[in-house]
C-alpha cells in the first residue's frame, strides 16, 4: 500500500494511505483528545473534540477522526484557537454531567476526566440541571448509568459490529437521546462486556467489581483466559491489601481487556471477562486431603506426598508400572502436562496416560498433524480477520468460540468476507455478510456433503485441475469415487452446494473451522479426512501470482489447553511433539534428554483408553491432574464404574469435583492466575501466562506438585520454574523447537508456521473415503436424538464456581424444536424429563429454532448436570416427557 508522509505537531511521520489523522497520531504516539474514535470501530464523529488544524492546500480545521491523511499534510493538534474550541465543547458535554467521580468506578481511567484535566477546565458558564435518568441495573453483570453518557456511540457500535447483536441503540432524539435497549426491555445479550471496555466514561460499569477498588489501585497483569481454546488475552486487575492484613493479600478484582495485546483485540466473551471469581471462591480446596475411614481429612503437604509416593512405589513393586493410569489436563499448562507425562513414563513407568480430548476423538491428533505437515493448518487464528470466505463446519462459533466470531465479523465488515455455515442445527451467527450460505445437513451425511462440494468444485472447474493433478497423488481415484455419493442424502439443494463451492474458491484466503460436532461424531475421522481432501483440492491449485483461492483449517478444541496437552504428549501414542512412541528411533532424542531408556514393552499404544483398562481390573492406581472425567467424559457410567474398581486414586484439582470426591488423596492446585507457564490455543499459538497473585491458601501449581512427588520417589525433577521445563521441552519436542520462553512475554510462538519454515509442506495424497453407515437407532420408545455441545456461559469446573456466570446462566436447559414442543404441549420453562436407556435427568425446556424436529440439545458444559450419564455414544436416542405433578 502507498505510504503518505505528513507532519503532526512538528513530528514527521509516514502512514499507509487511507488512514485517518487520528489513527496516524495513535500509531505514532501523538495524543489527540477524542472520546468517540476507537481504532477497532467504524468512525462515528460524534464528540467533536478531535478538531485539529490541517494545512493541505489551504489551512483549515478538520476532525482528525474523519479526515484522511494526504501527502505533505501539516497537522497542528493544539493551537490557542483549537484549545478554546475544545474547552467549549467540553463545557457542553459536562453541562448535564453528574460529575460524581468519587463514586464512579471509571475515575482515574476516564476519557472525560482526563480531557477535563488536560484542558484545565473551570466550572462551566451554563447554569444547568444535572441529568437524572434512572440507572439500568436489570442484569447481574452490567450497569448503565446514562447520566454519565456522552453519546459517543462506541458501545452501540461494538455491540452491533463486533458482537453482531445490536442489543443496545440510541433511543429518543435531541436532548432526550439516551442509550438503551429496544422498548426499555431488560438487557438480554451475550454479556460480552464489550460495551464496558470501550465506553470512555463511567456510563457502563462492570458490576462484578462492586466498588471493590479504584483504577489506580490495580496492578494489571495480562494473561491468558482459562476457558476456551481461542486463547484470548485477559488483563487481571489485582488489588493488594497492606501487609498488616494477613501479610498482604492480593485479590483479583476484575478483568479488563487490552486492545493491543494478544490475538483478540480486546474482545472477550462473558467467560473471559466475568468468569474470574472462582479464583477466590470459598469452595476451593485449601489443603491436601487424605482419605481415612472413608472420609477426606485435611493433612499437610508432606504427609500427602509421602502417602502418594509410598503407594505408587508399592503398586509398582507389586503389579508393575503399567497398572497405574494417568489423566492429564486440558486446563493445565504445557509445562505441567509435559512434566505429567514425563513423570508417568519415567517414574511410574507406564504409558497408560491420556487426556479427555484424546479419549473423545482419538484420531484427531494424527489428522491435525497430517494437516500441519501438509501446510493446511499453518494459519494463526488472527488471520481469520483477513478472510475472503469463512467456512464453519459443525462448529457453533457463537457458543463455543465467541471471539472467533468477533474476528469473523471483522473480516466481514472490512473485507466483505463471505460466510458458509454447515451444521446439523440451525446455529446462530449474526453478521452482515453479503453471502451467508447455510448448509444444514442431515446427520450422517457430512462426508457426502464435503464430497458434493468437492464435486461441485471439480465440475465447475473452479480450481486449476491440471495443477491439482500434478501436485498431488491419487487425484484420479478420488475423482472417480466422488460419484459414489448421493448429495441428496444431505438434504441440501445442489444449488446451495454449488454456491458454497464458488465461495470457497473465491480468490484470497479462506478459513475452515472444523467444529466439535464433527470431531466427536462417530464418523469424525472420515469427515475430517474428507475435509482435508477438500483443503488439498483448493490449495493444490493455488497460484501466488493471481492470489487464487487458498484455504486453511482450524480444529476446534474445547479447553484453553486442549491443544497443548496433546502437543506435549499426554497421549498413549505420542511422545512430546508427536514423535511416534512405537518407533524406537523417534524415541531416541527424548530418551537422550531424559537420560532414561524407555522399554519397548511399555511403549505401546493401547487402543483401549485408561477407563477401559480400569474396568478390566488392569489398573491399581489412577493419577488424575486437573480434570473431572466423572462429568466431562462422554460416557459417565463408564468412569463411574471404572473409578469404583481402582484402589488408589490421586486427584489434583482446585475444587472438590465429583472425581475428587472419589479420590484417596486430593491435592489442591493453583489456578491460572497463580502461576506461570504457557497455553497453546486451537490455532497452535503458544502464549505465555503471567502470574498475577501468589497461590491462594495452601495450593501449589501442578508442576511443583509433580516435581515434589517425583523427588519423594527418588527422581531428580530439579525444576525451579516453568521456564526450566520449557527449556527442556524445547529440546525434546520437534514441534516446540525454536520456542524461547523469555521471548514469549513479548511475542507468542506459533509452532506450526515455525515448523513449516524449517520443513517444506509435504505432497498430499488424496485418501479415498468409504464412510460406514451412521447407525442412530431411534425407536418408538426413544424417538429423539440427543445432541450435546458447547455453551457460551459455562465451561468446565471453573465457571460453576463463578457467581457472575451462574447468575446469567443458572440452569442447564434442554432445547426442543418448536413442532415437537407443540406436539408434547411443552412450553418454555416447563420441567421435562429426558430419559435414555441408561438414565434420566430433569431439566427445564427451552423451545428453540436451533434444533430440528426429532432432536433435542443439551449443553455438556454445565458440570452440575451429568448429561454424560444419559449418553452411550455421540448420538443417544432419548425420550422426553413433561413432568407430571
Amino acid at each position: 500500500m502507498k505510504t503518505v508522509h505528513l507532519v503532526i505537531d512538528d513530528k514527521s511521520i509516514a502512514v499507509p494511505e487511507g488512514t485517518n489523522i487520528f489513527q496516524a497520531a495513535i500509531d505514532n504516539n501523538i495524543y489527540i483528545p477524542g472520546l468517540c474514535y476507537q481504532p477497532k470501530l467504524p468512525q462515528f464523529g460524534g464528540c467533536r473534540l478531535c478538531m485539529v488544524e490541517v494545512t493541505e492546500r489551504r489551512t483549515g480545521h478538520r476532525f482528525a477522526c474523519a479526515h484522511p491523511v494526504s501527502e505533505g499534510m501539516i497537522v497542528k493538534v493544539n493551537t490557542p484557537k483549537i484549545t478554546r474550541y475544545r474547552k467549549s465543547v467540553m463545557e457542553y458535554l459536562l453541562a448535564h454531567h453528574p460529575l460524581d467521580c468519587p463514586t464512579c468506578d471509571k475515575s482515574g481511567e476516564c476519557g472525560l476526566q482526563n480531557i477535563s484535566y488536560d484542558l484545565n477546565l473551570a466550572p462551566g458558564r451554563f447554569k444547568t440541571t444535572r441529568m437524572n435518568v434512572p440507572v439500568i441495573r436489570d442484569n447481574p453483570l452490567l450497569e448503565l448509568n446514562r447520566n454519565r453518557c456522552v453519546l459517543c456511540g462506541r458501545c452501540v457500535s461494538t455491540c452491533k459490529e463486533i458482537e453482531g447483536l445490536g442489543a443496545i441503540d440510541f433511543q429518543n432524539r435531541g436532548i432526550k437521546t439516551v442509550i438503551g435497549t429496544a422498548f426499555d426491555k431488560p438487557l438480554d445479550c451475550s454479556f460480552c462486556g464489550g460495551c464496558v471496555a470501550v465506553c470512555p466514561t463511567g456510563a457502563w460499569q462492570d458490576r462484578t467489581l462492586g466498588f471493590g477498588g479504584r483504577s489506580w489501585e490495580f496492578m494489571k497483569t495480562p494473561t491468558i483466559c482459562p476457558y476456551c481454546s481461542v486463547g484470548c488475552t485477559i488483563v487481571l486487575n489485582t488489588k493488594a491489601s497492606p501487609p498488616r492484613r494477613d501479610g498482604g493479600v492480593d485479590t483479583v478484582k476484575r478483568v479488563t481487556s487490552d486492545d493491543y495485546t494478544g490475538i483478540n483485540e480486546g474482545n472477550l466473551c462473558v467467560k473471559g471477562r466475568f468468569g474470574y471469581e472462582f479464583i477466590h471462591s470459598s469452595e476451593r480446596i485449601n489443603t491436601p486431603l487424605l482419605r481415612r475411614d472413608n472420609e477426606l481429612i485435611p493433612v499437610s503437604w508432606d504427609e500427602a506426598i509421602a502417602c502418594i509416593s509410598e503407594n505408587f512405589k508399592k503398586i509398582i513393586a507389586e503389579h508393575g508400572g503399567a497398572s497405574i493410569g494417568g489423566i492429564g489436563s486440558e486446563k493445565s499448562t504445557n509445562e505441567e502436562n509435559y512434566l505429567f507425562q514425563k513423570f508417568c513414563r519415567t517414574v511410574l513407568k507406564t504409558n497408560n496416560i491420556d487426556n479427555l480430548s484424546n479419549i473423545k476423538s482419538p484420531f484427531l491428533n494424527g489428522l491435525i498433524y497430517k494437516s500441519v505437515i501438509h501446510g493446511f493448518a499453518s494459519a494463526s487464528l488472527k488471520d481469520i480477520e483477513t478472510a475472503t470466505t469463512l467456512f464453519f463446519f459443525g462448529a457453533d462459533i457463537t457458543e463455543a468460540h465467541p471471539v472467533i466470531g468477533n474476528m469473523a465479523r471483522k473480516a466481514i465488515r472490512l473485507k466483505g468476507a463471505n460466510l458458509v455455515i454447515a451444521n446439523a442445527r440451525n446455529v446462530q451467527f449474526q453478521s452482515q455478510a453479503r453471502s451467508d450460505v447455510r448448509l444444514r445437513y442431515a446427520l450422517g451425511s457430512q462426508v457426502a456433503l464435503v464430497n458434493a462440494i468437492m464435486k461441485a468444485i471439480i465440475d465447475g472447474n473452479l480450481v486449476d485441475l491440471k495443477k491439482v493433478e500434478a501436485s498431488t497423488n491419487n487425484f484420479p481415484a478420488l475423482r472417480g469415487q466422488l460419484n459414489n455419493f448421493d448429495p441428496q442424502l444431505t438434504g441440501i439443494s445442489a444449488e446451495t452446494i454449488k454456491q458454497a463451492a464458488t465461495l470457497l474458491t473465491n480468490n484470497g484466503n479462506s478459513y475452515l473451522v472444523c467444529g466439535k460436532d464433527v470431531e466427536e461424531d462417530p464418523q469424525g475421522k472420515d469427515i475430517i479426512e474428507a475435509l482435508l481432501n477438500l483443503c488439498a483440492l483448493i490449495n493444490a491449485g493455488y497460484n501466488a501470482d493471481t492470489n487464487s483461492a487458498r484455504i486453511s483449517i482450524f480444529f476446534s478444541r474445547s479447553h484453553n489447553n486442549s491443544q497443548g496437552v496433546n502437543d506435549v504428549g499426554v497421549v498413549p501414542g505420542y511422545l512430546p511433539g508427536y514423535a511416534d512412541i512405537e518407533n524406537a528411533s523417534s524415541r531416541e532424542t527424548v530418551e537422550n534428554v531424559w537420560g532414561v531408556k524407555l522399554p519397548d514393552d511399555m511403549c505401546k499404544k493401547d487402543n483401549q483408553d485408561v477407563f477401559d483398562l480400569a474396568l478390566q481390573d488392569k489398573l491399581k492406581a489412577l493419577y488424575i491432574m486437573g480434570e473431572n472425567p466423572m462429568v466431562n467424559h462422554p460416557d459417565g457410567k463408564k468412569v463411574h464404574d471404572a473409578l469404583q474398581k481402582v484402589g488408589f486414586i490421586v486427584v489434583q484439582d482446585t475444587f472438590l469435583t465429583e472425581t475428587a470426591r472419589k479420590a484417596n488423596v486430593v491435592l489442591p492446585s493453583a489456578t491460572f492466575a497463580e502461576k506461570e507457564g504457557t497455553f497453546t490455543n486451537m490455532g497452535m499459538l503458544v502464549q505465555r501466562l503471567n502470574k498475577a497473585i501468589p497461590p491462594v491458601g495452601n495450593a501449589r501449581p501442578d508442576w511443583q506438585i509433580i516435581s515434589d512427588i517425583a523427588k519423594k520417589m527418588g527422581h531428580a525433577f530439579a525444576y525451579a520454574s516453568p521456564k526450566d521445563v520449557m527449556v527442556e521441552l524445547e529440546r525434546v519436542s520437534p514441534a516446540y523447537s525454536g520456542i524461547i520462553y523469555d521471548r514469549l512475554k513479548r511475542k507468542e510462538f506459533h509452532w506450526t508456521s515455525f515448523l513449516l519454515t524449517k520443513n517444506k509442506p509435504l505432497k498430499y495424497t488424496f485418501g479415498v473415503i468409504e464412510p460406514g453407515v451412521l447407525n442412530i437407532s431411534v425407536s418408538k420408545d426413544f424417538p429423539f436424538i440427543l445432541l450435546t455441545g458447547a455453551n457460551l456461559n459455562h465451561q468446565g469446573t471453573f465457571s460453576r464456581h463463578t457467581k457472575a456466570l451462574m447468575s446469567v446462566a443458572p440452569e442447564c436447559l434442554v432445547e426442543v424444536s418448536r413442532n415437537d414442543a407443540r406436539a408434547m404441549g411443552v412450553n418454555n420453562g416447563d420441567v421435562v424429563i429426558i430419559e435414555s436407556a441408561r438414565n434420566k435427568i430433569k431439566l427445564k425446556a427451552k423451545v428453540s429454532g436451533k434444533v430440528s424436529e426429532g432432536m433435542v440439545f443439551i449443553s455438556e458444559d454445565y458440570e452440575r448436570q451429568p448429561v454424560n450419564l444419559l449418553r452411550d455414544g455421540a448420538y443417544t436416542p432419548v425420550r422426553i416427557h413433561k413432568e407430571i405433578g
Partner: protein
C-alpha cells in the same frame, strides 16, 4: 554587653512569672487548649442519615504519604457506595492532613484527638473505631 542580656532575661522572667503566658499546663488534670487548626487523629464523619459520610473513593488512601489508610468499597442494597473496610494505622499516620484535603465529601477530618499512646504493638483503627470518636463527640455535644 551585659545590658542586652539583662533585657532578654527580663522578658523571660516576665513571661515566666505571668500566669497567662506561662507554658506549663497541669496536664492531664488540665486539658491543653489546642489551636483550632490542630491536626490530631483523622476521624470519620457521620452524615445526616447517621451513617458514615465516606463514599470509599480511595482518594485519602492515595494521598496519604505514609500509606496508612486502606479502604475497600462495596455496594449496599440501595446501590450506595460505602467503605466496607476502612482502616487507619495510627502508628504510621504522620498527621499531615492530606487525607482531609483530598476527601471530596469531607468525610475525614483531623480533630483534636492526640492521646494515642498504648501498650499494644499495633494501633490499626478500623471503621467503627474511627466513627466512634465522632459519635462520642456528638453525644458530648448534646
Amino acid at each position: 554587653m551585659i545590658l542586652p542580656l539583662i533585657k532578654g532575661l527580663a522578658l523571660t522572667l516576665k513571661r515566666f512569672l505571668n500566669p497567662s503566658t506561662c507554658a506549663t499546663v497541669q496536664y492531664p488534670e488540665v486539658r491543653p487548649k489546642l489551636a483550632s487548626r490542630f491536626r490530631g487523629l483523622p476521624e470519620l464523619q457521620i452524615g445526616k442519615d447517621g451513617r458514615e459520610k465516606c463514599v470509599a473513593c480511595g482518594l485519602c488512601a492515595k494521598a496519604c504519604p505514609s500509606g496508612c489508610i486502606y479502604v475497600e468499597g462495596a455496594e449496599d442494597e440501595t446501590h450506595r457506595r460505602y467503605p466496607k473496610t476502612y482502616e487507619l494505622d495510627a502508628f504510621r499516620c504522620i498527621f499531615c492532613g492530606f487525607c482531609e484535603e483530598a476527601c471530596p465529601v469531607r468525610a475525614i477530618i483531623l480533630r483534636d484527638t492526640f492521646e494515642l499512646s498504648t501498650y499494644k504493638n499495633n494501633q490499626v483503627f478500623d471503621k467503627e473505631k474511627l466513627l466512634g470518636l465522632t459519635r462520642k463527640r456528638d453525644l458530648l455535644k448534646r
